[in-house]
Symmetry: C2
Subunit: 490 residues, 2 copies
C-alpha cells in the first residue's frame, strides 16, 4: 500500500459513513416516527463526531505530504484536490468553533420557525446575531488572505469568487428587471390549473416522467416529504416530492427538478463511488442539472405539449396545449423565492447574495437586515414586502448558517443556460423528441458531457468541457428574453 492507497482507503470509509449520515437525514424527512426526533438528533450527533474525527485525522496530513503528486494521473490529482480542500477546511476550523456553530444554528432554526410563524423579526434577532458573529469567525478562520465571504462560498462552489459572481449578477440584473417589468406591465395574467388532482395519480405520473428522464429505479426510489430533496450518492440515490391535490404542477416539476439532481448522481462513473470524485462537481453544477431538467427541458413548449396529453388522459385537463404551456410558465409577482418563476427567480438570489456578502463582511448588521431587504425588494420587484414571513424570514438558509450557498442557485441557472445552448446545437431533433416525451438523446448528452465525470473537474471547467466555451450569463438571458417575450407578446 502506498500513501495514496492508504489515503483513499481512509477516505472510502469516511464516504461510506457520510452516506449513512445522508440516509439518516432522508429517513428523518420521509419515514421516521414523529416521536423519534430527539433520539435521532443524538444518533446523528454521535455519527457526526465520528465523521469529524475521521476528517481531521492527522494521518491525512502525513499521507498528503508523502504522496508524489507528479506520479499520479488526472484522476489521482483530482482526488487529492478534493481531499486537500476538505482537510484544510476541517483542520483550520477550531473544534470549539464548529461545535458552537452546530449548537447555535440548531437552536436558531427552532427560534426562526417560531419567529416566522409569528411574523416577529425581533424574536429571531438575538440568536441571529450569534449566528452571524460565528459565521464571521468561521470565514475569518478559513479566509487565508481571501475575502472572508469567498471562504464560505468556496465550500459550495470551488473556484468561484464573490467578485466574479457580483460582476456577473450586475450584468444580469438590469436585463431581468426590465424583462419582469415588461411582462408585469401587460394585462395578460395567465390562469393556473384548477380542479382536483388525485395524489396517487400524481405520483404515478411522477414515476412515469422520472423513468422517461432516465432516473434509475434500481438505484433509487421516490417518496413524499414536506420539501422535495435528493439524497445519497453512488448506488443509492433517492428523491422525494410533495403532493397538493389542488395543484399538480408543484409535484410534477419538483420531481423533474429532483430527477435532475438524482440522475446526475446516478450517472457518475461507478469507479468514483465512495471517493471524493463520486459526487457532483459543486452545488452550482448540481443545480444546473436540476434546472435544465425542470426548466429548459421540462417547461419547453415541446415537452409541455406531451405532458398536456398525459394530463388530459389522467386528470381530464382541458383548454389545449398552448394554454397549458402558458400555465406552466406563468409569470407572477410573488414574495417567496421557492415559488418564483424563471423570470423572477434569479432576482431573489441576487438580493440575497448582496445582503449576505455584506453581512459576512461587516458592512451590514443583523438588526439592519430587514430594512435592507425591504428596500431592495421594492427596487427589483416593484412591490413592497407585506410581512417578514414573506420577506427576510422566509428562507431557512441563514438561520442554519448557510452563507455562500444562495449564489449557487443562480450559477446553476447560468450553467443550465450554457448547456442548453450547446445541447440544442448538438441535438437538432431535440424539440421533435421532447414533443413525444422522448428524452433519451438529451439525457445521454448530459450524461456524457457532464454527469459521468462527477468531481473530476472544477465547476467552471465542467461547463467549458461540455459546452466548448466558458460559462457566461448570456445564453440564459437570451433564452429567458426570447421565451417570455414570445409568451407574453412583449
Amino acid at each position: 500500500m502506498t500513501a495514496y492507497d492508504d489515503l483513499l482507503a481512509h477516505e472510502r470509509e469516511t464516504q461510506a459513513l457520510s452516506q449513512v449520515m445522508g440516509r439518516l437525514g432522508w429517513d428523518q424527512e420521509t419515514m421516521m416516527p414523529r416521536g423519534a426526533a430527539q433520539q435521532r438528533a443524538e444518533e446523528m450527533g454521535a455519527l457526526e463526531t465520528v465523521l469529524h474525527a475521521r476528517r481531521t485525522e492527522p494521518r491525512i496530513g502525513e499521507w498528503l505530504n508523502a504522496i508524489d503528486e507528479a506520479a499520479l494521473d488526472a484522476v489521482g490529482r483530482a482526488q487529492l484536490r478534493h481531499i486537500r480542500r476538505s482537510y484544510a477546511r476541517a483542520t483550520r476550523l477550531p473544534r470549539t468553533l464548529s461545535a458552537e456553530i452546530a449548537h447555535v444554528t440548531s437552536r436558531s432554526q427552532g427560534i426562526w420557525a417560531e419567529a416566522r410563524a409569528a411574523d416577529d423579526v425581533g424574536h429571531f434577532l438575538p440568536v441571529f446575531r450569534e449566528v452571524v458573529r460565528l459565521k464571521r469567525e468561521e470565514a475569518a478562520a478559513l479566509a487565508e488572505g481571501r475575502e472572508a465571504y469567498d471562504a464560505l462560498l468556496d465550500d459550495y462552489e470551488p473556484g468561484a469568487t464573490a467578485d466574479s459572481i457580483a460582476g456577473m449578477f450586475d450584468r444580469m440584473r438590469p436585463r431581468l428587471v426590465q424583462l419582469r417589468e415588461r411582462i408585469m406591465g401587460t394585462e395578460r395574467g395567465q390562469p393556473g390549473l384548477s380542479g382536483h388532482f388525485d395524489g396517487a395519480i400524481q405520483i404515478d405520473l411522477s414515476r412515469e416522467i422520472a423513468t422517461r428522464f432516465g432516473y434509475d429505479w434500481r438505484h433509487g426510489r421516490l417518496d413524499r416529504s414536506v420539501h422535495p430533496f435528493t439524497s445519497g450518492s453512488g448506488a443509492d440515490v433517492r428523491i422525494t416530492t410533495r403532493v397538493d391535490e389542488k395543484e399538480p404542477l408543484g409535484c410534477l416539476y419538483s420531481v423533474l427538478h429532483e430527477v435532475g439532481h438524482g440522475a446526475y448522481e446516478q450517472a457518475i462513473d461507478p469507479a468514483y463511488a465512495l471517493t471524493p470524485l463520486g459526487e457532483g462537481a459543486s452545488m452550482g453544477v448540481h443545480e444546473s442539472q436540476s434546472r435544465i431538467y425542470e426548466n429548459q427541458l421540462g417547461r419547453s413548449r415541446a415537452f409541455t405539449g406531451w405532458l398536456y396529453g398525459r394530463m388530459a388522459d389522467l386528470f381530464g385537463v382541458t383548454g389545449g396545449a398552448e394554454a397549458f404551456y402558458a400555465a406552466v410558465n406563468r409569470v407572477h409577482a410573488g414574495f417567496i423565492r421557492t415559488e418564483a418563476d424563471e423570470v423572477h427567480y434569479n432576482l431573489h438570489i441576487m438580493m440575497r447574495f448582496d445582503l449576505e456578502r455584506d453581512l459576512i463582511l461587516g458592512k451590514l448588521e443583523p438588526e439592519d437586515l430587514e430594512e435592507a431587504w425591504n428596500v431592495r425588494f421594492v427596487t427589483d420587484f416593484g412591490v413592497a414586502v407585506d410581512r417578514p414571513s414573506n420577506g427576510v424570514l422566509q428562507d431557512v438558509h441563514w438561520p442554519v448558517g448557510l452563507f455562500g450557498y444562495f449564489p449557487t442557485y443562480t450559477l446553476g441557472n447560468v450553467y443550465a443556460g450554457c448547456l442548453h445552448l450547446a445541447m440544442r446545437a448538438a441535438l437538432p431533433s431535440l424539440d421533435a423528441d421532447l414533443a413525444q416525451g422522448e428524452v433519451t438523446a438529451v439525457t445521454s448528452w448530459l450524461r456524457d458531457t457532464v454527469q459521468r465525470h462527477g468531481g473530476l473537474y472544477l465547476p467552471a471547467d465542467v461547463i467549458e468541457h461540455a459546452c466548448g466555451f466558458p460559462p457566461t450569463e448570456k445564453p440564459l438571458l437570451d433564452y429567458l428574453e426570447a421565451k417570455y417575450s414570445a409568451l407574453y407578446g412583449v
Copy 2:
C-alpha cells in the same frame, strides 16, 4: 465527571451508533433499492469497524477498574453487569477471528441460499465446515472454563446454561410428543381460511390490532418485508409484516408477534434509553412477549371471537367464531419451523438445540448433520423429511453462524407460559376483555411487571419478579394440553 459518568457517556454514543446500524438493517429489508446492496454492505462494514473500535476501547477497562461499584445503586450495578459482559466478549475475541467469522458467514449465507434452492446439501457442506470450525474457535476463546456451547448461549440468554436447558427440554419433550400423537391420531383435520383477502385491508386490520395491543405509533411504524421483524430501541421501534392475499392469518399473527417485541421495547423506562438497560433483558424474555401477544392472547378463544367479527366485517369470512378459533389453532404436521403451530413448535427447537450443541462440542460433524436431523425428525414428528430444503437446510441461523440462539425461542414460550398463568390470576376479567378486543389491562400488566425494566434484571429474575415464582415449563405444558385436548377432543 466520575469514571462511571465517563463510561456511560461512551456507552451512550456507542448505543446511538448501534441504533444507526439497526436502522440501516431495517432500511435494507424495507426501503433500499435493489441495486444498492453492495454499497450498503460497505456502509455497514464501515460502521461495524467504528462500533468494534468503540466496544474494545481500552479506556472501558480503565473506567471499569476505577469505579467503586459498592457506591452505585441497583441501576448502576446492572449497567456495569451489561458493560462488563460485552467488553469481555469483545476483547476476548481476537479481531482476526471475528473478521474471519464476518467474512465466512457472509459468504456462507449466499451459498446456503443456493443450496437450499437446489436441495443440495453437498454444495453447502464445504463452507459450513468453515463456519462450524470458526464458531468452535469462538466458543473456545470465550468459554473460560465453561462448556463451550454455554459461551455462545450466554450472548443471547445471560445466565442460562446448556445443562439446565437440556434438563428442561428433556422434561418437555415426552409430553409434547404425546400430545402431538394424540392430536394427529384424530381424523379432525381443521380447515384453514380460503378466499381472496385484499392486502391493503389486511394492513388496515393489522394497524387496528397493533393499536389495540398498545403499539405506539408516535414511536413506531409498520411496513412490509419478506420476513417480519422488529427493529430499534428507545424512541424509534419499527415493525414489519408480510402479506399473502390468499392467507391473511400469517400477516395478522406476524403483526401480533412483532407488536409483542415492539411494545416491549417501547415500554422500557425512557431513563434507560441509549444505555445498556435500554433494550429487552434477553432474546428469551423478548420472545416471551412476542409469544404471549401472538399465542396465549392472540390465539385465545376469547380474542379470536372478537377477531372473527372483524374478519366477517372486512373480508366476509363466515362459518362462525368456533370454526375460526379452530382454524387459527389448526395443528398440522409440517417440516418447517416457522410455519409450525404451538404444539409442534418447541419440538422443532429442541432438536436444533441438541444438534447444535453437539456440533459445537465436536460430538457431531457437519457431514453427519443431515442424517442426525432426519433420524431425529422421524422420532419426534412421526414423518420422514422429504428433502433438505424441508429439513436441515431450512433455517438461516446456522449458515450465518447463529449457534446458541435457537433455545431462546422455546425459553420464550416457557416464560410466556409462566406469565400467562400469573396474568390470569391477576386479571380475572381477562377473557371478557379479550372477547371485546380490549387488551388495555393485560398490556398494562405486562408493561408494569416485565417491560418497563428493560435490562435491569437477569432473564430468569425478570420472570420470577413478574410471576412470583421462578420460570418452569409446567404452565406452558399445562396450557397446551388443556387447550388442544379440548379443541381436538383428545
